[in-house]
C-alpha cells in the first residue's frame, strides 16, 4: 500500500497554515481613531468605585469634575467656572451653564449634590470617600450654584475634587442603569463610551455637544496591555498611536531610532523606604541618617529604571503642589564613610541585624535586594522577608520590626502625601513608619486649614525642611512617566498624576 496522498495532505495543511500567516493585514477605516496602549485594562466606569489611574484616565475622557488639574498639577476650573471662600469652612462653586450630559440632560447643581450624596452613601461603599471625609455637607444654592461646607478648614479640597473619583454623575442615568451603571456611564466629558471588552479594550466615541467643543478625533481606543515588550511592539508595529507607561528599558533605543515622539516627566508619586521609627534602632535620628547615606539611589534607579527616575529631595515629588524648590539637590548623598560614622556615633559601630520586608511584586523585592547589598557595606545585616501583597500591606500597616518599601501617589497636593504618610493620626493605617511628632502634626494641621495658598506654601516649606532633618524614611526616588507617540499625534502631554486628558489630542496626517 502506498500513501503518497497522505504525505501530500500533511504538507498541504502545513503549507496552508503558513500561507495564512502571510496574508496582509487590512487597511484601517477613514475615521480618525486614536489608539492608546495602557499598562492595565479598564475596571469599569463608575468613578466612585475606581481605585486605579489607568481606569482614571478613561474616566477623565467620559466625566468632568468641578475642577481639574492641568499638566502642571495646577487646578483649573472645569464644570465649576469659579469658586470663593466666604469663610474658612465654606466653598461656593459657580457652575458652568449649558453643559449637557451624554444622555441630553443638562448639568445642574442638583447633579453635584447627587454625586456627593451617592459617594457618602454607605451602600455605595466608595473607596474614594476617603478623600472627602472633611466635607460636612453639600447644598444647592440655586440651579448653578453649589455650597460645600467642610468640618474643619480644609485647604486641599480642590485637589480632592479634581480627582477622577469625583466625576459628576447624572441621577437619572445612574438610576436607569441600576447595578449595571459600571458598564453604562453617562458623563459630561468629551467622549462617550461605545464599547468595553473587559480585559482587552475600550472604545470611546466623541461627544459632539461637549461644552468645550468637538473633540479632534472620532474615536479613542484604549487597550490594556500589561506586558512591557508587547506594548512596545504594538507601538512599533503600528498597532497603537500612543504608548503610555512606556517601559524605561526601551526608551533610549526608540529615542535614538527617531521615528517616534518621546515624552518624559517625573510623576507625583514617590517611592520611599520606610522603617518603624518607634522601635530601636530606627528611633535614633543618627541611624536614620546613616541609613540614608548608605544607599546609592542613583545606582538603584539606573538598574531598575534605566535612569528613568529622579532622586527625591525630600518627602515630596517635585511635581506635587507645595514642593519646596529651594531644597538641596541631594540632601543625603551616598557616602558609606559618613554612614558608618553616624552608626558608630549612635552606638552601632558594628552595625545591626534587621529585616527588609518585600511583597511578592518583584519591584519591592528587587529594591530589597539592592538595600541588602548597600547595607551590608556598612555592617547592617538584612534578611529579606517576602509577603503576599495583601499581607504585606496589612503587616506594614500594623508596623513591622524592620524596613519596607512603599510607593505613594497622593493627590498632587502636599497634604495628600505628607498627612497620609507621616501625620500621627494616620498611625495604624497609612502612616506605616509610626512617626509620631507633634511638631510635624501641627504643621500638617496648619497646612490643611490655611486656605491662603502663599501662606500654605510657606508652611509646607517649613515642614519639608523639618522632615528632611528628622528623616523618618530613607529618601528614594520619583519615577519618570514615559509616553511615546507616533509623529501624527499632536497636543499630547504627560499628566504627572497619570490621569491623562486627551481632549486636546489630535491626529494629523
Amino acid at each position: 500500500m502506498k500513501w503518497k496522498k497522505l504525505e501530500l495532505l500533511v504538507f498541504a495543511t502545513l503549507f496552508l497554515i503558513g500561507a495564512g500567516a502571510l496574508y496582509p493585514v487590512p487597511a484601517l477605516s477613514a475615521e480618525k481613531i486614536l489608539r492608546i496602549a495602557q499598562q492595565a485594562d479598564c475596571n469599569g466606569f463608575d468613578p466612585q468605585k475606581i481605585t486605579d489611574v489607568y481606569t482614571g484616565t478613561l474616566l477623565r475622557q467620559v466625566y468632568n469634575g468641578l475642577v481639574q488639574p492641568d499638566e502642571n498639577m495646577v487646578f483649573q476650573p472645569d464644570l465649576a467656572e469659579s469658586w470663593e471662600n466666604p469663610d474658612d469652612l465654606t466653598w461656593v462653586f459657580k457652575l458652568r451653564q449649558g453643559v449637557l450630559f451624554h444622555n441630553g440632560e443638562e448639568f445642574t447643581a442638583e447633579d453635584v449634590k447627587y454625586t456627593f450624596d451617592r459617594i457618602f452613601d454607605p451602600k455605595t461603599a466608595s473607596p474614594g470617600v476617603t478623600h472627602v471625609r472633611e466635607i460636612d455637607k453639600v447644598e444647592v444654592v440655586d440651579k448653578y450654584t453649589v455650597k460645600i461646607t467642610t468640618k474643619t478648614p480644609y485647604a486641599p479640597l480642590l485637589s480632592s475634587l479634581g480627582r477622577y473619583e469625583f466625576g459628576m454623575l447624572n441621577k437619572k442615568a445612574v438610576d436607569a442603569a441600576g447595578d449595571d451603571y459600571n458598564k453604562n456611564p453617562v458623563g459630561t466629558g468629551p467622549f462617550i463610551m461605545e464599547s468595553w471588552r473587559p480585559g482587552d479594550s475600550v472604545v470611546l466615541k466623541k461627544f459632539d455637544k461637549y461644552f468645550k467643543g468637538e473633540p479632534k478625533v472620532d474615536k479613542l481606543v484604549f487597550r490594556g496591555i500589561p506586558e512591557d515588550a508587547t506594548r512596545v511592539i504594538e507601538l512599533e508595529s503600528g498597532g497603537v498611536d500612543i504608548c503610555m507607561d512606556f517601559p524605561p528599558q526601551d526608551f533610549e533605543r526608540v529615542k535614538s531610532d527617531g521615528k517616534f515622539v518621546m515624552y518624559e516627566k517625573p510623576g507625583i508619586s514617590t517611592n520611599y523606604y520606610g522603617f518603624n521609627v518607634s522601635i530601636k534602632p530606627f528611633s535614633d535620628k543618627r541611624v536614620r541618617k546613616a541609613l540614608n547615606h548608605a544607599v546609592d539611589i542613583d545606582a538603584l534607579t539606573d538598574s531598575l529604571y534605566f535612569g528613568m527616575a529622579v532622586k527625591t529631595r525630600g518627602p515630596l515629588s517635585e511635581q506635587v503642589w507645595g514642593f519646596d524648590t529651594t531644597l538641596p539637590a541631594d540632601p543625603y548623598p551616598y557616602d558609606v564613610e559618613k554612614a558608618k560614622a553616624l552608626l558608630a556615633e549612635a552606638g552601632y559601630p558594628n552595625g545591626f541585624k534587621t529585616k527588609l520586608y518585600a511583597s511578592t511584586q518583584s519591584l519591592t523585592r528587587s529594591i530589597a535586594e539592592f538595600f541588602q547589598g548597600f547595607y551590608a557595606e556598612v555592617g547592617i545585616e538584612c534578611e529579606v522577608v517576602t509577603l503576599e501583597w495583601g499581607a504585606y500591606l496589612a503587616e506594614t500597616r500594623k508596623g513591622v520590626d524592620g524596613m519596607f518599601t512603599m510607593g505613594w501617589s497622593g493627590t498632587g497636593d502636599a497634604d495628600g502625601a505628607l498627612t497620609y504618610l507621616y501625620d500621627s493620626q494616620n498611625i495604624g493605617s497609612s502612616n506605616r513608619v509610626f512617626w509620631n511628632d507633634p511638631e510635624f502634626d501641627k504643621m500638617m494641621y496648619d497646612g490643611r486649614t490655611t486656605l491662603n495658598p502663599e501662606k500654605r506654601q510657606a508652611i509646607y516649606k517649613k515642614a519639608q525642611a523639618y522632615f528632611n532633618e528628622e528623616l523618618p524614611i530613607v529618601l528614594m526616588f520619583s519615577r519618570k512617566l514615559l509616553c511615546v507617540t507616533t509623529p501624527k499625534v499632536k497636543g499630547f502631554a504627560i499628566y504627572p498624576n497619570q490621569v491623562y486628558q486627551l481632549f486636546n489630542v489630535s491626529l494629523e496626517d
Binding site: 515588550a229 511592539i233 528599558q249 526601551d250 533605543r253 511578592t360 518583584s362 535586594e369 509577603l387 499581607a391
Partner: protein, 292 residues
Amino acid sequence: MPGTATTLKRDKRQSKIGEIWRRLKINKGAVAGLAVILFLSAMAIFAPYLAPYEPNKMNSGPRLASPSMKHPLGTDSFGRDQLSRVIYGARISLYVGFIAVGIGAVIGGFIGAVVGYYGGRVDNILMRIMDVLLAVPQIILAIAIVGALGANLVNLMIAVGVSQIPRYARIVRASALSVRGQEFVEAARAIGASDLRIILENILPNCMAPIIVQSTLGVASAILSAAALSFLGLGIQPPTPEWGSMLSLGRQYMRNAPHLTFYPGLVIAIVVLALNIFGDGLRDALDPKLRQ
C-alpha cells in the same frame, strides 16, 4: 534457607534491571535523553563550581549584554550573568520537578493502593474526590493553590504535586484492583500478613513499572507546570534563578535582548524533551508488549 531466598530474589531483581537496561540501551534516543538528564543533574549539583559568576550578583557585567566570550549567554537587566543563572536554575527546576512528583506519587500511590485494596465505599469516596481534582485542569488547580497560598518555592511544589495526585492514584488503584484477587495475595493473607504489608510488599511492587514511567513523564510535566507558573508570576519569585521567572523577566526586554527570552526557554524545552524521550524509552523497556 531464608538467606538463599533473598539472594535468589536479589539476583532475580538484578537480572530484571539488567534486562531493562539491555532493552533500554538499544533505544538511542532514550540513552541520549538519559545522558542529558544526568548532565543537567550534574550541572545542578555542581552549580557553584560550574557557574562562572554568582547567579544573583548584579553588575557582573554590562547590563543586557548580548552573548559574548565573557558571558556566553549574555547578561540580564541587572547585569547578572545569564549562564550562571541558567546553571543554578537547573537546581530549582529539577528540585521542584522531583519533589512535586514525589508528593504526587507518594500521596497518589498510597491513596490508589488503599482504595484499590480495600475497594467498596472507601474506593468510591476517594475516587470521587479524585474526579473532583481531575475536573479542574491541572495547571489551573495549581494556579489557584499558588494564588491563594502565595507564590514561593514550597507552595509551588505543593501546588504542582497536588495537581499530579490523581494520575498516580489511578494507576496504582488499577493495578491494586487487578492484584487484589490473585492467589499470592490470598496466600499472603492466609499466612496472616497485615494489610499494610500486603500493600507494600505485593501490590506496590506490581505497579512499580507504570509508576516509574509515569513519574519520569511526571517530572517533565511538573517542570513545565512550575516554569509556567513562575512565568505567570505565580511561582518562584525573582531574584531566585528559575527558568520560568527568568523568561518572565527577560520577556520585558525581548525587544532589546532576545537572548534573555531564548535561552531559559530553550533549556526548559531540552530538559522536558530529554525526560519525555527517556520516559518513552523506559516504558518500552519495561513493557516489551508495547514494543513493535
